[in-house]
Structures are given as structure tokens and as C-alpha cells.
Point group: C2
Chain length 312, copies 2
């Protein structure tokens, strides 16, 4: 049996990335109900909102689900308290050191995966005792690693380095790319962008439309020396780029960033002045689909493509 | 039968990229003799040297081989003359417009492939009548596209756009990544970095050793506004980066570049002051192997991995 399906007790090794502003209970429960693993995006939720989404998810599905927890926010301890109180079965941590909370979460019976972008952190994950690793390539949307290693180059490297269940992320939005990721040595896949453009995601409709219109070369990984993040090249992006080129201090850029611009863009639909985090694979996303359609078409395409792979 | 094997009359759909300073007759004939397609790297050869390498290749193999021809060099017309006179069966063009020479080469019975990095040029290739496309991802070594699209994101997009034989390049160095590329919709693969670190490549032994030592994040795509090129981060790279950051004029940077620095690095082994073009996949290359070992292990790994791919 597939290691990821076994670990998380799900039907398909398809994880929905817990993206900020896009991953509320409707998306999460829809993904879990369709046989994948839905993750609540705690990065844009205060502890009480997080509790509400956990409770609503539990009411909407009896399948396993999880919470994605970026380790860089202030209210992390309260968020963890809520997760434990609400008996969330699975937590994906990211943007921090896996050694910090893994043992504590596991003591409470929670399965833990951690997101990394290089072999150094993959090894740290194993040392920390995580149950699975998400290895994220350069093409992924949102926050990313400093090395710029793409999914194609990264997955065989991580697979060679560690032996625990491995989830590939970055550039994956269809059955073909899922099959490719598994060919590279991953046990499962995590998709962000494709689920942002689903009927159930809480992304603003104008953000969804903007992603559909986004073509090759219209996202970029910026802020490479501070917090690398892949964005759509809109007005907000251009302002950040100007600050970057003019060698603004870290404080200046962070101050500029920290004004709820991601909420403004992704949740409120200001596609010009807001921050729009999305992956390169947006160039290959053409329609808003329901979660059920996304997962069904991925599985169908995976099976079809698997049958067609040539012998050598 | 595999479209690439049929088109080029080869056993395995494995192409050796025609890299400057590394791809002489010994490498090319070894690849073709091992069942792949070897390409002479004309980008670092004047017409007489090119003729010599073609003649030596013909003496060393009776299998199909080709020439990679970057369209940006001054002596391009003379190079084409040599290729036609010597009856080279296959030409891969790159770094230019496929409409320029495709028809002329095809009139002389030559099969033509062209290297691209976006859908716009893929369409141009079809209009120009090329026989196959090489789609190259961001992770590839040497010259590259402006969009930064990775192999994982690029191949499904190109496959959806055009229907002709498609070769994936960038991030591929083993049987797993070959299987992944074919899962994404490619018919074959082109490898550069892996063949640079072969016994038969004409890369300097110190360059080969440097590639073996190169880890994640130690190559970078630079000169993004002029001629994007992926290099190892050595002293030469740092000098270029300084010029870039200080917004040196294009002329100044090109002048600095144009002093045989690639020959110095890759052919003469000055790993500090020379230009070292290589892909991200260098992080996953650990040993110098013979071409025959490379191709055999790729095919073996491809077959093994194909058998292990899970049903969903």
C-alpha cells in the first residue's frame, strides 16, 4: 500500500497545501471527502478562527484532515493549544525548525509532516522524528527555499538522502505531474495552486480569475535574501522589486509587506495592490473546477498515463 | 515505437546535449554507440574544427549522430556549409529563431530539432517545420529562457500546445528523472550535466571534479536580462554578479564575458576564473562514469522504477 495513504489513512496520496487565505473548512473538507488530505491554512488565522475552521471541518467530514502551521507566526503556541484541544489528527509544519514542536505534537498523538526545500532540512526532519517530509521545488507558489532547486532536481536528491514517506510539491497540478513526482521517488504529492482555483477555496473570485489568466514567466520568486516568495507580477510585486533593487533595508521591506497585503490580494480580490502568492503551474490552470472534479481528473489522468508509459 | 527513437533511428530516447567545450567526437560517438543520440557541440568550434569532429565521429560510429548549432555565432553560415558537405544527418539548433535555417537544412535531408523554453517558441518551431522540439527547464545548465519555467511546469504545457515529438531537458540525470519527464508528456530526454561528467567528455578533469563537489544552491541562473545562463558560483560568477548588481551596461558585461572564459573554465580547468556552465542536477552527480555505464544505468533504473509505480 502507498506509504502516504497508509500513514494518513486516505484513499489517494494527494495533499491539498494549507495555503493562507485560501484554505478554509469548505476546501479542506471537500478534499478529504474526495479521498485526499485537506489541510487548514492556519497561517492566516488567529487561534479562534482556527478553532472555528477545525470544528466546521469536523462537522463536514469524518475523513482525516490536518492543519498547516507555519512556525513563524507570533500566536504559534496558542494555535498548537487549539489543535491539541480539538484533537486534530495531522499537522504539517513549515517555515521553521522541525525540532521545535514535532516531539510535543507527537506526544499528543498527532502525525507530523514538515515542509523542506533541501537535503540539510530533510535530515533535520528525520532527526526530529517527523512522520513525513514535503519537499518543495522552486516552482511552487508562496514561501520557498533559498537554493532555488526545482522539483525535478530536488526529489531524487531527497529520496536518496532519507527513507521516510516523501511528498513532492511544486509544479504539480494534474495526473501527469503527479505520476512524474512519483517516478522521481515521491510517495505522494501536495498541490497548492490547483486547489486555490477550485470552487471550494476561499480565494477571492478575482484572484482565481487572475490565476487563470497568468501565463509563463508571469510569476517570480522574489525577496530571495529575506523570505523567498513566489508571486504574480502585479503592482504590489513591482513595488517590492523596486525596494529590492534599491537595496532597501530588510526592515523597510518587511514593514512594507506587513500591512495585510496578502489578505488584500488573495482574500479581498485586490489583484493589483495585493500580494498574490501562486506557483508557476498557474500557467497550466485554465478553469475553476470543483475539488471532486480536480481529484477525479487527476486520478483518471494518472491511470491513463501510467498505462501509456513506454517500455525501453 | 517511441517517436524519438523512430525519428532519429536510435535505440533509447536519450539525447546527449551538444554542450560547448565538452562535446567532441569521443563523447558523441560513445553516446551513439551506446544507443543514444550524440550531438557535437558546434558552439565552441570554428568550421574546420567542427569538420574534424564530424569526420572523427563518422569514423568512430556507424550510428546516427548530430550537431548542436547555437544560432548566435558569427560563423554560422560556414558551419552549416560544413554540416551539409559532411552529410550530418541531424541538427539541433538553439539560441535563435527556428524559422531561419530549418527549411534550408531540411532541403538537404537533415532532420532538425530546435531548443525552446516557452510555448511561444514551441509554436514557432511547428510553423518552421522542425521535426522535434527540445523543451528546456529553468534547472538546466548553460543558456536558458527568460521565463524561468521549470521542467515540471513546462513539459505538460508544451505537450498541450504542440503535437510533434518532444524532448525534455533540465534536471534529468538518471532513470527516475527520465521516467518523470516521459510521464509529463515528453517522448525523450536530453541530458547535459550527466554527460559532462563522463569519461569520454572533453571537459577538463578539474571541471568534472568541481561538478561532483557542487551541491544544492551552488549554481545560479544569472544575466537574466541579457543572456540567462546557469553557472557554478565561483570567482568568475561573483565578478559577473557584481557587474550585474551595479547595473553595468550590457556592453560592459558582454565585453567582460567575451574573453574565452568558458574555454578557460570548462576546457582548460580554471575552476575559479573560468565560466562553468552546469545544471542544478550537478548536486545529484557523484562520480565520473563511462557513457556506456550512464546509459545502461539509466535504462535499468527506468525499467525498475516503471515496474514499481503504484496503481491508484
Amino acid at each position: 500500500m502507498n506509504k502516504i495513504c497508509k500513514l494518513f489513512e486516505i484513499e489517494y496520496p494527494i495533499i491539498q497545501g494549507g495555503m493562507i487565505w485560501c484554505s478554509g473548512w469548505e476546501l479542506v473538507s471537500a478534499v478529504s471527502n474526495a479521498g485526499g488530505l485537506g489541510l487548514i491554512g492556519a497561517g492566516s488565522m488567529n487561534p479562534e478562527i482556527l478553532r472555528e475552521h477545525i470544528q466546521k471541518t469536523k462537522a463536514a467530514t469524518n475523513k482525516p484532515f490536518g492543519v498547516n502551521l507555519p512556525l513563524l507566526y507570533k500566536q504559534i503556541e496558542e494555535q498548537i493549544k487549539v489543535i491539541i484541544e480539538e484533537k486534530v489528527p495531522i499537522v504539517f509544519t513549515s517555515a521553521g525548525n522541525p525540532k521545535k514542536y514535532t516531539a510535543y505534537l507527537k506526544e499528543h498523538g498527532i502525525k507530523v509532516a514538515h515542509v523542506i526545500a533541501n537535503t540539510k532540512f530533510a535530515i533535520k526532519c528525520v532527526e526530529a522524528g517527523v512522520d513525513a517530509i514535503v519537499a518543495e521545488g522552486f516552482e511552487a507558489g508562496g514561501h520557498n527555499g533559498f537554493e532555488e532547486t526545482t522539483t525535478m532536481a530536488l526529489i531524487p536528491l531527497i529520496r536518496k538522502t532519507v527513507d521516510i514517506p516523501l511528498i513532492a510539491a511544486g509544479g504539480i497540478a494534474c495526473g501527469k505531474s503527479m505520476l512524474a513526482a512519483i517516478s522521481l521517488g515521491a510517495d505522494g504529492v501536495q498541490l497548492g495552486s490547483r486547489f486555490v482555483v477550485s470552487k471550494e477555496s476561499s480565494a477571492h473570485k478575482d484572484f482565481k480569475q487572475k490565476i487563470i489568466e497568468t501565463k509563463e514567466g508571469e510569476t517570480e520568486l522574489i525577496l530571495k535574501k529575506i523570505v523567498p516568495v513566489r508571486l504574480i507580477k502585479n503592482t504590489f510585486y513591482k513595488e517590492i522589486k523596486t525596494l529590492e533593487v534599491e537595496r532597501a533595508g530588510i526592515r523597510e521591506i518587511v514593514e512594507y509587506l506587513g500591512k495585510g497585503r496578502s489578505k488584500k490580494g488573495m482574500f479581498e480580490g485586490d489583484i493589483s495592490e495585493g500580494e498574490l502568492e501562486i506557483g508557476q503551474v498557474s500557467a497550466n490552470i485554465d478553469t475553476v473546477l470543483s475539488v471532486s472534479e480536480i481529484i477525479k481528473s487527476m486520478v483518471t489522468e494518472y491511470r491513463k498515463q501510467l498505462k501509456q508509459l513506454p517500455q525501453l
